[in-house]
């Protein structure tokens, strides 16, 4: 996909491995969890790139690695023309004010002992912009995200989940950043509140020329907000395409199955849809399947090639697709069949569960 040189963030063959250590004294290195294994993508200025996948697919790790919260094992990260892959902490600091993050859990991401004024003002103070104007700037920020000005002296426990997420947004906007990594920003919120935050994020994007990397597992929300969407599975991008096109014309078998698994709030539509049920669990990223990573669960898997040769992420009909047989699947030459389930203990990253009443 050409980005005509307008990319704010470029990632090339990014790998993030987490070592598995064993033994009490020696700390032997016995393997790696390959959380991200060869991801390349570009994020254009002003666009929203959606990153979707199931838990443990490495989507959050990509987001954090882009901000250099994790050190990449291999690959290259370029932010606005600067290669930041190996920058030291001091060289990173001026760039950090241009990249911010919004977290999933509005209950855990705000310090309960700090007032809202202190939380939102903190990035300003850290970057030497404290001074006399601080209070005024914070009040303006709170107003921008739709919170009352008196919030400044209150504490996080006094706010609901949606309001806390607004506080998180105000904090992220404090330094006037260019790039926001939003890691599941609405999944902990009730549906009636989700829409408030999504609408707010869209407005802020227009007002402040923001570029978003929007990470989520809810494809309906991602589709709503994104310009382009990348679908990840076990540390790799399986398909990348313009948002609408991904839904109208999914090409990768994983995308097809994922879309068919999402329930639509309409009984009429639900009756008409035929769903492709994926069997089994996600394989462990410490020991991913060889060749095509999806072949153990793929309903369209073919006898030899899928197990022996890793497909490339290649252009097809305006998408990028990592599948040998995408054309044949599209043309209906290969029909899906039910696979025998293969179960393994899944990755240890449970999805966030909103508090129940």
């Amino acid at each position: 996909m050409s980005t005509n040189g307008n990319a704010l963030v470029e990632v090339e063959d990014l790998k993030v491995y987490f070592p598995i250590k064993s033994g009490l004294v020696m700390d032997r290195h016995v393997g790696d969890v390959k959380a991200v294994d060869g991801v390349s993508l570009e994020i254009e200025r002003g666009e929203t790139l959606g990153l979707v996948g199931e838990s443990g697919c490495g989507k959050s790790t990509v987001g954090r690695a882009l901000l250099r919260l994790y050190d990449p094992t291999a690959g290259k990260i370029v932010f606005d023309g600067t290669d930041i892959t190996h920058l030291g902490e001091n060289q990173m600091r001026p760039l950090r004010r241009r990249m911010q993050m919004i977290f999933q859990d509005p209950y855990a991401s705000l310090n309960p002992r700090h007032s809202i004024g202190r939380i939102v003002g903190e990035p300003l103070r850290v970057h030497g912009r404290g001074g006399k104007e601080l209070g005024k700037t914070v009040r303006e920020l709170l107003q921008t995200v739709g919170l009352p000005a008196d919030a400044i002296s209150r504490y996080p426990h006094e706010f609901s989940g949606g309001q806390r997420q607004r506080i998180g947004l105000a904090r992220a906007l404090a330094l006037n950043p260019d790039f926001l990594v939003c890691d599941e920003p609405v999944s902990a919120l009730d549906v009636s509140i989700q829409a408030q935050i999504v609408n707010l994020m869209e407005r802020l994007q227009d007002d402040f020329d923001l570029t978003y990397l929007f990470i989520a597992h809810d494809l309906a929300v991602v589709r709503h907000i994104s310009d382009r969407i990348a679908v990840m599975y076990l540390g790799q991008i399986m398909e990348l395409s313009p948002a609408d096109d991904l839904y109208d014309n999914p090409l990768h078998p994983y995308t097809i199955s994922l879309l068919s698994a999402i329930p639509i709030p309409d009984p009429e539509v639900e009756k008409r849809r035929s769903s492709i049920l994926l069997q089994g669990d996600l394989p462990s990223p410490a020991n991913p399947p060889a060749a095509c990573r999806f072949h153990t669960r793929c309903p369209y898997v073919q006898p030899t090639r899928c197990r022996e040769e890793e497909p490339l992420l290649r252009p097809l009909e305006g998408h990028l697709v990592k599948c040998h047989y995408a054309e044949d699947v599209k043309a209906g030459l290969i029909t899906p069949r039910v696979r025998e389930a293969v179960f393994e203990p899944g990755p240890q990253e449970p999805a966030y569960v909103p508090p129940v009443d």
């Binding site: 329930p263 709030p265 999805a351 129940v356 009443d357």
Partner: protein
């Protein structure tokens, strides 16, 4: 229509807290027939989980049922003594909880947890219970079931744990299965597997299923009848087909308008419901949704509207119901 298995009338639940009485459930009524799947939809704090806990007598210590009846097989569940309830819980009414990570006991093997209801309710000995446990695990689609009986919960993935929970719940072939957000903690592909499993098991055994969820999509695919709950009351009840095509309560409409749909156009305008859910610390003296409602009329601020039949089988608690064609009109208008 078949004779109901469970008939709940005017159920009320209160919690005593340091900040005062919480009016969690305020007079809800419903019934459920064998083989039927009934949905209860609502957001966190609306009282949907409390309802199911109250029926089984497992409310937190500060919770009290302050009114209502729940007739199940000629007995009122709410008036039974604990010993009597214990004979029903797990045997005739079983429950699947939201979080498969915490609702299994981490220090007991899966086998032990599966055997427990069988030994308690059917008096089976260990080897009989083991054989039955293997059958149950196979029914819920767990391969090499016999070996896995010796495993502990941490050796299972989230989806597998939820399968084990379902196996435990179905061990005694209950007449009613209450599933409280059974798939909320799971990924979509696993969610699809679990929902399919629940559908099959329930239809094979003619079990009644009470499905509690916040996900409108899950309800649309699973339920025949749906209750929409807000602030401890049913705001709208009816067939899934009616509710999703012609929502008449402003809250139901609001929910449908605020979720992005996978099959809708991009940047379809989302209409959030303004404000936040009602503080439950006072008894409802007005329509609980009135402060957030676009259709509010003066009367809504003066008294709680009654739940009234608006067409056969479709009830709405509203003085100023949404026009029947509003949702369809808006969706088509939005698409253009």
């Amino acid at each position: 229509m078949r004779t109901p298995l469970l008939t709940v009338e005017d159920l009320e639940v209160r919690f005593g807290t340091s900040r005062g009485l919480v009016y969690a459930v305020n007079g809800i009524s419903f019934d459920i027939a064998p083989g039927e799947t009934l949905g209860i939809v609502g957001e966190s704090g609306c009282g949907k989980s409390v309802t199911s806990l109250a029926l089984l007598g497992i409310l937190a210590r500060n919770g009290r049922v302050t009114g209502g009846t729940a007739m199940f097989g000629g007995r009122d569940l709410l008036k039974l003594k604990d010993e009597q309830l214990r004979l029903i819980r797990g045997r005739e009414i079983a429950m699947v909880f939201q979080d498969p990570m915490t609702s299994l006991n981490p220090v007991l093997t899966i086998g032990k947890q599966l055997r427990e209801p069988l030994q308690v309710h059917f008096g089976m000995d260990k080897s009989q219970a083991d054989r039955r446990a293997v059958e149950l695990l196979e029914q819920v689609g767990i391969p090499s079931a016999k070996q896995r009986l010796r495993d502990y919960p941490h050796q299972f993935s989230g989806g597998m744990r939820q399968r084990v929970m379902i196996a435990i719940a179905l061990a005694c072939e209950p007449k009613l299965l209450i599933a409280d957000e059974p798939t909320t903690a799971l990924d979509v592909t696993i969610q699809a597997q679990i929902l399919e499993l629940l559908k099959t098991l329930v239809s094979e055994r003619d079990t009644a299923l009470m499905l509690i969820t916040h996900d409108l999509g899950v309800v649309a695919g699973m339920c025949e009848r749906v209750n929409v709950m807000y602030a401890g009351m049913f705001m709208e009840t009816g067939s899934a087909a009616a509710l999703f095509s012609q929502p008449r309560h402003p809250y139901t409409l609001g929910l449908l308008q605020s979720v992005p749909r996978l099959d809708a156009g991009r940047r379809q305008k989302l209409m959030p419901i303004p404000g936040s859910p009602r503080n439950m610390l006072s008894p409802p003296g007005e329509c609980p949704f009135a402060p957030r409602c676009r259709y509010e009329v003066e009367q809504s601020r003066q008294q709680v509207p009654p739940l009234e039949e608006i067409e056969p089988g479709h009830q709405v608690r509203c003085f100023n119901p949404v026009p029947a064609d509003e949702w369809q009109r808006e969706r088509l208008g939005g698409a253009a």
